[in-house]
């Protein structure tokens, strides 16, 4: 795997210890959350969805750097990004289970997690569509002279859809404060991205088409992601315009809950499992003097938080049928006639 870090990323930015620990904690919370939810899936307690196990470093690196007022756009593979914005686990898990206390009242589900109060502007399930939408939210910040930044996550597969092209051109043209983050996990649903893309790096090899720098980052290295995120967010916040980051990563599981991911060569899976972002980071933290006990406590806490969220969600009430007709319109209802 070739990895080139652009000149922007890694130019001596030091990751503060607080942020390192916060990233580690976030990664753990995401991991345990996804694991708890996957168990619920196989127990028949929730419908399917898309886990980010193996890809946690990307969400965590951006999560710890997001400020209040910053906004996040994610895809159907958005549990991680939701949690990374501080959205409570319980409400998130309850939403996956279609419960009334879910963050979307049970109306959204796994593919549409939204918590506007946390800056989580939504998870979008039609590939590519949210890239222009994120540009619009960034435009609003610029319009109002606010230094808010929008971060938009999407998969490698999204780089071949028209909306990607339109959004990148517009964002670059208007120097919008938006960071586009391609989570290149090397697969779309079941087909390798390399089989359907005319260039080797689906995002980075397109950056120049919008006058942007190609940025490729090791998406399983939380520190590398942190640096790339810091640079891009800072650039956006200073009015320097958008960035397009290609973060190389891998999903440990299949595309969606019931997919065993068998279409991937065993050696490929094995080599990426060795590069698990959490194990890598744990080693690194230990190596830089964080003690084992601190990490173990963090693991315990994260795990029990996830377990509690799962129990909470399973016990949470189903939505009342009367809510079927609420919130189609801003008046709260669904009436289309007068």
């Amino acid at each position: 795997m070739t990895q080139t870090h652009s000149s922007q990323a890694g130019a001596g930015t030091v990751v503060p210890l607080d942020d390192r620990l916060a990233m580690h904690r976030l990664m753990l919370e995401i991991r345990f959350f996804e694991e708890a939810w996957t168990r619920l899936f196989f127990a028949g307690k929730t419908g399917p969805g898309h886990s980010s196990i193996g890809m946690e470093a990307i969400a965590a690196a951006f999560g710890v750097q997001a400020r209040e007022g910053d906004t996040t756009y994610a895809t159907y593979r958005g549990h991680a990004h939701t949690l990374a914005r501080g959205v409570p686990m319980k409400g998130t898990m309850a939403e996956l289970l279609g419960r009334s206390t879910g963050i979307n009242g049970g109306k959204g589900g796994s593919m549409h997690l939204t918590s506007v109060e946390h800056g989580m502007m939504g998870s979008y399930a039609i590939v590519g569509a949210h890239l222009p939408v994120a540009a619009g939210t960034a435009l609003a910040a610029k319009y109002r002279g606010e230094d808010k930044v929008t971060v938009c996550f999407f998969g490698d597969g999204a780089t071949n859809i028209g909306a990607f092209h339109e959004a990148l051109n517009l964002a670059a043209l208007w120097e919008l404060p938006v960071v586009y983050v391609c989570e290149n996990n090397h697969y779309m649903e079941y087909t390798p991205i390399s089989e359907v893309t005319a260039v080797p790096r689906p995002a980075a090899d397109r950056a120049a088409a919008y006058g942007l720098e190609p940025i490729v980052v090791d998406g399983n290295d939380a520190d590398a992601m942190y640096v790339a995120a810091a640079n891009a967010i800072d650039r956006a916040r200073r009015g320097g315009g958008p960035s397009l980051i290609e973060a190389l990563t891998y999903r440990h599981l299949g595309h969606a809950s019931s997919d065993p991911g068998k279409y991937r060569p065993a050696e490929e899976v094995a080599s990426w499992m060795k590069r698990d972002p959490i194990s890598i980071y744990r080693e690194r933290l230990l190596g830089t003097g964080v003690d084992e006990a601190t990490l173990e406590a963090m693991e315990r806490e994260s795990r029990s938080k996830a377990e509690e969220a799962a129990s909470y969600a399973v016990a949470a009430p189903l939505p009342d049928v009367s809510t079927l007709d609420t919130n189609v319109w801003a008046d709260g209802g669904s009436q289309w006639r007068k």
Partner: protein, 324 residues
């Protein structure tokens, strides 16, 4: 009170709303420096500057997507998509993203945006620049759909659309741009979901939208020559739909005709006919009749296009045949 064109009413409407609220901005192709392909946005760049009047690339998905994202952040975007046909280029944004966002988020996302475009036939532009999309848009839950037929309504309904907290598709009829009407001075703010009886009558009700309102009205005048006194209703807003006014009229007249420019199948006429039949079956004396453009793409040649779209003579003939 002043006479003005439908075209200049559009400009005045946008100007009124941009003056009224700094969070309102205009985004679209050629809308700024050039003043718009239909010359409906002239002078706005000069008054409001490039922050609030933005020329875009030819990127309909980005235009509408950006409007959505800005609206989600609390602004009130007005996105121009030149021709109604091109709305289909961004139909995922319209039908799947914008229309569904509020419901999917259970009310967390509010999208106070307006998408406006020139719709309708009669200009010999051929099939890809003449589409009427009233029914295609009305069929999408989560959208409001407004189609003014005269300059005063352009302003009042546009203001209502911009101030509405929900996404509104605003249909400007290209064939009406040069038509004139009296418009009161000062700000005009109307209400969505109010149909208007533009001609009172007792023998039948004709329901129409946009350009067809004018044809229906002329037809009604001509029908007096057949001894028929026909009521004409301008629907004005497809969603919300003012069924109260329409049902009340049909209860009085006992006969319903709809005149649609959009293609026939699953037109808004079918919706209104179905509601009327379901809710006023005993009030109607016979089958409601839909007068529509046939279910075909529109042709270029004038003689063909004129034969396709409901005409005054065609309406007169159909109504007379049915009632006499």
């Amino acid at each position: 009170m002043a006479e003005m064109t439908y075209r200049s009413a559009v400009t005045r409407a946008i100007r009124q709303e941009m003056r009224h609220d700094d969070s309102v901005f205009l985004i679209g192709e050629d809308v700024a420096k050039a003043g718009g392909v239909f010359k409906t946005t002239g002078g706005l760049l000069e008054e409001f500057g490039p922050r609030r009047v933005l020329d875009t690339p030819i990127s309909e998905q980005a235009i509408v997507g950006a409007a959505m994202g800005a609206a989600a952040a609390g602004l009130r975007p007005i996105a121009e998509i030149m021709f109604a046909d091109f709305v289909m280029v961004t139909q995922d944004m319209v039908a799947n993203q914008i229309a569904k966002a509020r419901y999917m988020s259970d009310g967390q996302l509010t999208l106070p945006l307006v998408i406006r475009f020139g719709s309708g036939g009669g200009l010999r532009f051929g099939a890809q620049h003449s589409q009427s999309v009233e029914n295609w848009l009305m069929a999408i839950p989560g959208l409001k759909v407004v189609a003014p037929s005269n300059p005063e309504d352009v302003i009042g309904l546009f203001a209502a659309a911009v101030r509405d907290p929900d996404p509104v598709m605003f249909i400007e009829h290209k064939g009406l741009l040069a038509t004139k009407g009296e418009v009161p001075d000062g700000d005009i703010v109307d209400e969505l979901g109010k149909a208007r009886i533009v001609r009172r009558g007792k023998d039948a009700t004709i329901v129409a939208v946009g350009m067809m309102v004018h044809r229906a009205r002329e037809a009604a005048e001509a029908l007096t020559g057949h001894g028929l006194d026909v009521e004409v209703i301008d629907v004005r807003s497809m969603v919300p739909l003012d069924m109260t006014t329409i049902l009340e009229s049909v209860h009085r007249t006992g006969a319903l005709f709809t005149v649609e420019e959009n293609p026939r199948l699953c037109g808004w006429g079918a919706e209104i006919v179905s509601i009327v039949v379901e809710e006023a079956f005993d009030s109607i004396d016979g089958a409601p009749i839909r007068i529509t453009t046939p279910h075909i793409p529109l042709p270029h040649a004038g003689v063909l296009e004129d034969a396709a779209i409901p005409s005054v003579d065609g309406i007169v003939a159909r109504v007379a045949k049915h009632l006499l």
